[in-house]
């Protein structure tokens, strides 16, 4: 039996973005200007990982007793 509280530890690691950008500001005359540009972004979004000390699948499906998975919530 465990009467532990439900803990969560969530990590999103190594999110990265590479970007190439070219932008321009054209002052046409005293009253007019034009801004234009182009941008390319490469985004790497890894999976976010959340760890709990109880089986939340059991909790979501109404399965009892909810299995206790132990101390899986080590400090990040």
């Amino acid at each position: 039996m465990s009467s532990d509280a439900l803990f969560i530890s969530a990590n999103i690691d190594d999110f990265s973005e590479a970007r190439v950008q070219w932008h321009n500001d054209w002052k046409i005359n005293q009253q007019s200007s034009l801004q234009f540009g182009v941008e390319l972004r490469q985004i790497e979004g890894p999976d976010g990982i959340a760890k709990n000390n109880f089986n939340l699948g059991d909790f979501a499906n109404g399965v009892t007793p909810i299995r206790y998975t132990g101390n899986c919530y080590q400090p990040p």
């Binding site: 039996m1 465990s2 009467s3 532990d4 509280a5 439900l6 803990f7 969560i8 530890s9 969530a10 990590n11 999103i12 690691d13 190594d14 999110f15 990265s16 973005e17 590479a18 970007r19 190439v20 950008q21 070219w22 932008h23 321009n24 500001d25 054209w26 002052k27 046409i28 801004q35 234009f36 540009g37 941008e39 972004r41 985004i43 979004g45 109880f54 909790f59 009892t64 007793p65 909810i66 299995r67 206790y68 919530y73 400090p75 990040p76």
Partner: protein, 204 residues
Amino acid sequence: MVDGQRLNDPAISGAGETVPKYPLINIARVELIRGPGAAVYGSNAMLGVINIITRREINKVTASVGSLNRRKLSILASHSTDDVKIDFFGHFDADNGDHYRVQDTFSSDLITTDDPRELADFSLKFKWKQTQVNLQHNQYKADNFYELDSISNDFNARSSQLTSISLQHNVNWQAVSSWFWLSYNRSKFNTKSQLTAPGDLTTG
């Protein structure tokens, strides 16, 4: 943005998670640009842009201590020649946090919590004529207090890091100013929290 370099997390286009605080001592001015500006500032600049312009050409060291065990150290160092300008900024800020008497998330009891935190920032700017390279790193760590809407002293924690490097080159041709940018940033975010009271999910 800091000096035109994005701080935001690409997943949500907000900077609040990865860089929740930026040291005032390194800010020369803050530019607020209202309205869409994606042509100049890139994608997601739909409603406006906040650009923090950092200080340059300053040599200064400050250190301070205070209540709540606050320790703060800032270094601004600069070197310039006719064509080259180099600016370094280092900052460390930590305290034990203030104490708060608040209602427990999991009961009607009043409990005491605090919000100790650590913040570190580094940046290096190298400018040669119309070309500039910026390197910056920010990291933040906080314990206790509210995390995911609940209080759990000694368990709640959050930490984040952002590292970025950018290369900019400016070309002026008649009435047109052009900027070329190459940038790369990498970030991480961690959070820990207690979601229920002990015994709420009693198992066998």
